[in-house]
């Protein structure tokens, strides 16, 4: 597309949607039909959920396109980091126009980045939830959730790229106030899974405790402690967390 169009689109906000529609010819829209390569069942479930929210007669809903754009943006971040992830590079990776991205994500790049945080958090929570469901005891559930969270975060190439090359962009999510709001989210999501075995207050404390432990060892690895090793996680949980859970269960 020519620069004229691109400039026009950057000014687009809610009141000028008509203009966007005019700018994007249909064939450019269909250029956004990129196969979504999710690597695990949780993400697929997420995609199904997303599709159900917005049933459309067309082959690909705009929710579908949004997810494809998010995957494309993640690939760009893996390659070039956050600062190198321009709207152009995301559009290029996605095989669609900047205009299409602006229509899918009013607000542009920032909106896409926020959407990435939401979808990746949802994927992480979904992975943790699936790991906790088959657990038969509270210690199994805690170990499984730490192991699964560690595997997800360590294997998350975009996250690892940012932690390595542009920590200033990502660390605010894992420290001080940013970490507190992440912990709040983790509690409200994970607590119910533990309430099968322990009371609400204990469950909250245990979730916070496990999340702190996980993030600490992931951001600043210690010799001999690899949270993507099941035996290590089980040992840590049994050594440091379970005695405390026993105290709490006995005292409430």
């Amino acid at each position: 597309m020519n620069p004229e169009d691109a400039r026009g689109i950057t000014r687009i906000s809610g009141d000028s949607r008509e203009e966007v529609t005019e700018v994007i010819p249909d064939e450019q829209e269909s250029a956004c039909v990129v196969p979504i390569q999710f690597h695990d069942q949780h993400a697929n479930r997420l995609r199904e959920m997303a599709l159900q929210e917005e049933p459309e007669s067309s082959a690909l809903s705009s929710q579908d396109k949004r997810l494809a754009a998010i995957e494309a943006a993640l690939t760009v971040i893996e390659d070039r980091g956050l600062r190198g992830s321009t709207l152009d590079s995301i559009a290029n990776e996605c095989g669609c126009s900047r205009a299409t991205l602006y229509r899918l994500f009013p607000g542009g790049r920032d909106t896409i980045l926020n959407a990435i945080v939401s979808t990746e958090t949802a994927k992480l929570f979904s992975a943790i939830a699936s790991s906790m469901l088959p657990a038969t005891s509270v210690s199994e559930a805690i170990s499984a959730s730490i192991y699964e969270a560690a595997r997800f975060l360590e294997g998350h190439r975009a996250l690892q790229k940012l932690l390595k090359d542009e920590p200033d962009t990502i660390l605010p999510f894992f420290a001080f106030d940013g970490f507190e709001s992440m912990l709040e989210q983790v509690v409200s999501f994970a607590r119910p899974f533990l309430e099968r075995w322990i009371d609400k207050d204990t469950a909250k404390r245990v979730v916070l405790w496990s999340a702190r432990l996980t993030v600490s060892y992931l951001l600043c690895p210690a010799d001999g402690i690899d949270l993507t090793n099941r035996d290590t996680v089980t040992r840590l949980v049994n050594t440091y967390i379970m005695p405390g859970v026993d105290i709490l269960v006995g005292s409430y």
């Binding site: 940013g178 912990l183 404390r205 600043c220 001999g224 379970m242 005695p243 405390g244 105290i247 709490l248």
Partner: protein
């Protein structure tokens, strides 16, 4: 004073040059800290620091070859060092592991609460501050971990516990709870006591 001028001063007094260099280093750090308190990290320039301490930019660059980045990191390290020195004073004479950790949490959270500049920087320029703080916190955690080892030996730990791993675990959890307490009130002695008993020491020394 220009670069060459200050150089000759140091050369002419070589016997006390180390002491003098320390003093200059200290003056620069204090000036940089004052500038950051006043203007924040992003708006503090080397020129501001030079004016604040009346030391030339060239000299400041000689002490901090990495420039602004290195200077800011050094200011944080210097403040962290001060904090640790005060902390050791507070821990002196503690009677048990429970006592040590309670004092540590209480003192640290009180210190952070009164460090207005930190609140302001975290609110206004988290991107500039948090990575540098995180680097420093990781260093402090390993210092604190090393500091705890002799106490764990002295007061004793459960038989299956590795002392070094336990000290490392404690330091991590301490820094996590202190820097992001959430809805936990770390000035509430009963809550802190409970936290130390359950989340920190239950697996290590009970």
């Amino acid at each position: 004073m220009d670069f060459w001028g200050s150089e000759s001063v140091i050369n002419n007094h070589s016997t006390s040059s180390t002491h003098r260099a320390d003093q200059i280093n200290q003056r620069i750090l204090e000036a940089a800290f004052n500038c950051v308190v006043r203007w924040g990290v992003a708006k503090t320039t080397m020129e501001d620091v030079a004016r604040e301490c009346s030391i030339s930019r060239a000299t400041i660059y000689r002490y901090f070859p990495g420039g602004r980045e290195e200077l800011v990191q050094s200011v944080i390290a210097w403040q962290a060092g001060q904090f640790l020195a005060d902390l050791y004073e507070v821990l002196h004479g503690a009677q048990s592991l429970q006592d040590i950790l309670e004092r540590l949490i209480f003192f640290s959270s009180d210190y952070l609460r009164n460090l207005e500049v930190l609140d302001r920087l975290l609110a206004t320029e988290p991107d500039a501050v948090i990575p540098k703080l995180t680097t420093e916190i990781n260093l402090m955690a390993s210092t604190v971990s090393g500091f705890l080892v002799p106490y764990l030996r002295e007061f004793g730990v459960n038989s299956q516990v590795n002392i070094h791993e336990a000290a490392d675990y404690l330091a991590r959890m301490l820094f996590s709870f202190i820097s992001s307490p959430g809805d936990l009130d770390l000035q509430d002695r009963a809550k802190v006591s409970d936290l130390v008993r359950v989340e920190l020491l239950s697996g290590i020394a009970y």
